[in-house]
């Protein structure tokens, strides 16, 4: 293990290298350019392919092609660029093709700005492109996790034959902090995951294979959609990930992911010092969402406080999970606003009338 000062963008690139990514295509956009730059430098060093494509649409379709041939493939962009990639992502979900897609979210809608935001949650977790599909969506909250979840993303993509999206943001991408980098030997990619019996590599000496997304025969698409649905149900059962911080006895449970979770963690520590029983539930997989864990908590917790850098998107998933069992408050900072721990703390203190403890 080596400690290196890295930005989230660079850590993501390093994660891709550790995972054995063989193909990267991307088109520049702030705030994820350092990732593209990192891949431009590192991919040729390892005999992989780096392409700065002519557009975002071209990049996702190049990843489509690379994945078809069995290569571990990745693309990255930021919000407006990810919107452009949606057609390709839908096709890849339909063809059951593994790929890793990085979204370093910036303020929107439209061209928006280049500040950190979490306003692409709906797009990431509810489909994004057309049709009946889901992506596995991971929400890293540090440079360290940016690296580790990128490795995980490649594994999950191969394991379930599905595109996996990492939902970061400008803050996670740009900020530099110490990262413990695993040496390559300690992370051997499972052979089982990279041995693929469906890839299109030329059918000399074997039967032809077909990978497609068009199902015109009567009932064929319905049957395929059911098969996809079963896969998603399986992923929900097996791959839901979250972190619970001091939730066991909490009266107030914060729910937040990514960079917001860092700030909430500090707010929890401060509130605890004041004798307020606060906790944090941090979804790590945004899809599948940790619904069962939140429902369980809602039976004993009085109040949930959902904090997002948006006008409230994950909020809807929390509402579904809580199912009326507890009160939910929302605090959002859209358009590039970043909440400060002090502002969360003051808000909770103001609403939570704490009896002044008399001095003994």
């Amino acid at each position: 293990m080596k400690k290196v000062l890295m930005s989230g963008n660079e850590a993501c690139g390093e994660g891709a290298m550790i995972a054995g990514c063989r193909f990267y295509a991307g088109y520049p956009i702030t705030p994820q350019n350092e990732l593209t730059e990192y891949m431009a430098r590192r991919m040729p060093e390892t005999g992989g392919v780096f392409i700065q494509s002519e557009s975002e649409v071209a990049a996702i379709n190049m990843v489509f092609g690379a994945s078809l041939t069995g290569a571990r493939a990745m693309t990255s962009s930021s919000s407006p660029g990810i919107s452009l990639k949606q057609e390709g992502i839908s096709y890849m979900a339909a063809c059951e093709l593994p790929a890793v897609i990085i979204n370093m979210v910036r303020g929107g809608p439209g061209l928006g700005n280049i500040a950190p935001a979490q306003s692409d949650y709906f797009q990431a977790t509810k489909g994004g492109g057309h049709g009946d599909y889901h992506l596995i969506v991971l929400g890293p909250s540090s440079a360290q996790e940016m690296m580790e979840l990128t490795v995980l993303a490649f594994d999950l993509a191969d394991k379930y034959r599905t595109p996996v999206l990492i939902l970061g943001d400008g803050l996670i991408g740009q900020m530099m902090e110490p990262v413990l980098v695993n040496s390559r030997q300690s992370l051997v990619v499972s052979k089982k995951l990279t041995t693929k019996n469906w890839v299109l590599t030329g059918c000399k000496g074997r039967d032809p294979r077909i990978v497609k997304s068009l199902w015109l025969n009567d009932g064929a698409l319905e049957a395929f959609n059911r098969k996809l649905g079963e896969k998603y149900e399986h992923i929900k059962r097996a791959e839901t990930r979250y972190e619970a911080v001091r939730t066991e006895d909490a009266d107030i449970v914060f729910v937040g992911y990514g960079s917001v979770a860092r700030i909430l963690r500090a707010a929890v520590a401060r509130l605890r010092e004041e004798g307020i029983r606060a906790g944090l539930l941090r979804p790590i997989t945004l899809w599948p969402f940790p619904q069962a864990a939140i429902r369980q908590l809602s039976k004993k917790t009085k109040k949930f406080v959902v904090v997002e850098m948006s006008m409230g998107q994950m909020l809807e998933d929390v509402e579904l999970a809580v199912a009326g069992n507890a009160k939910i408050e929302f605090y959002g900072r859209p358009g590039g606003g970043i909440p400060h721990e002090e502002e969360i703390y003051q808000r909770v203190i103001a609403r939570h009338k704490v009896p002044k403890q008399s001095k003994k």
């Binding site: 400690k3 000062l5 702030t30 705030p31 280049i114 400008g170 803050l171 740009q174 900020m175 530099m176 902090e177 110490p178 960079s259 860092r262 700030i263 963690r265 500090a266 707010a267 970043i338 909440p339 400060h340 721990e341």
Partner: protein
């Protein structure tokens, strides 16, 4: 109370403002402290304004964004105007008098005012002004040691010749502050 230092480095593009913040974070990492660095990442260009933020703490860092720094290293006049009123009361302003005209004496904060650009020029490389300022800053605050900063320069800069001038500049800056 937790020990925590928040510093903003500001100047124009080309003065090594991002490098300055990164180096502070690297020093903190080398001394096993928690640290986070955040650049201004807009349409920064050579000649335009640029700033970077670094936090050094003995606790994990929630957000790397600084609104009221403990210290500011300010290398040109527009940056001085932007950040002079943001520094915390009792904080420190390290100011490049080569490129900031009559600034008056900001109230309620400590001031180190030295001609960093001219000093760097006399050392043989005007671009090392940032390291002169860094030397002055860490000598005054002791937030990391000069020794660590010298090691960090060794690690960060690949070109041997540039390592020498940057170290020289750092030591010069440190020698000018009590």
């Amino acid at each position: 109370m937790a020990k925590r230092e928040e510093v903003i480095c500001a100047g124009f593009g080309g003065q090594g403002i991002l490098f300055l913040g990164k180096l502070i974070a690297l020093c903190a990492m080398k001394e096993n402290k928690f640290t986070a660095y955040m650049p201004s990442y807009g349409a920064e260009v050579r000649g335009g304004t640029a700033y970077s933020m670094a936090i050094i703490s003995d606790k994990p860092i929630p957000s790397p964004v600084i609104t009221r720094p403990d210290s500011a290293i300010v290398m040109n006049e527009p940056s001085f105007r932007k950040f002079r009123d943001k520094i915390k009361k009792g904080g420190l302003l390290v100011l490049n008098s080569s490129l900031v005209g009559n600034c008056g004496r900001p109230k309620g904060i400590k001031l180190i005012k030295l001609p960093f650009t001219e000093i760097a020029f006399s050392l043989g490389n005007v671009k090392a002004a940032n390291m002169v300022a860094l030397g002055a800053y860490i000598k005054k605050t002791n937030v990391v040691s000069v020794k660590t900063a010298l090691k960090a320069i060794d690690e960060f800069i690949k070109d041997k010749k540039l390592v020498v001038i940057n170290k020289l500049a750092l030591l010069k800056g440190a020698s000018l502050v009590k």
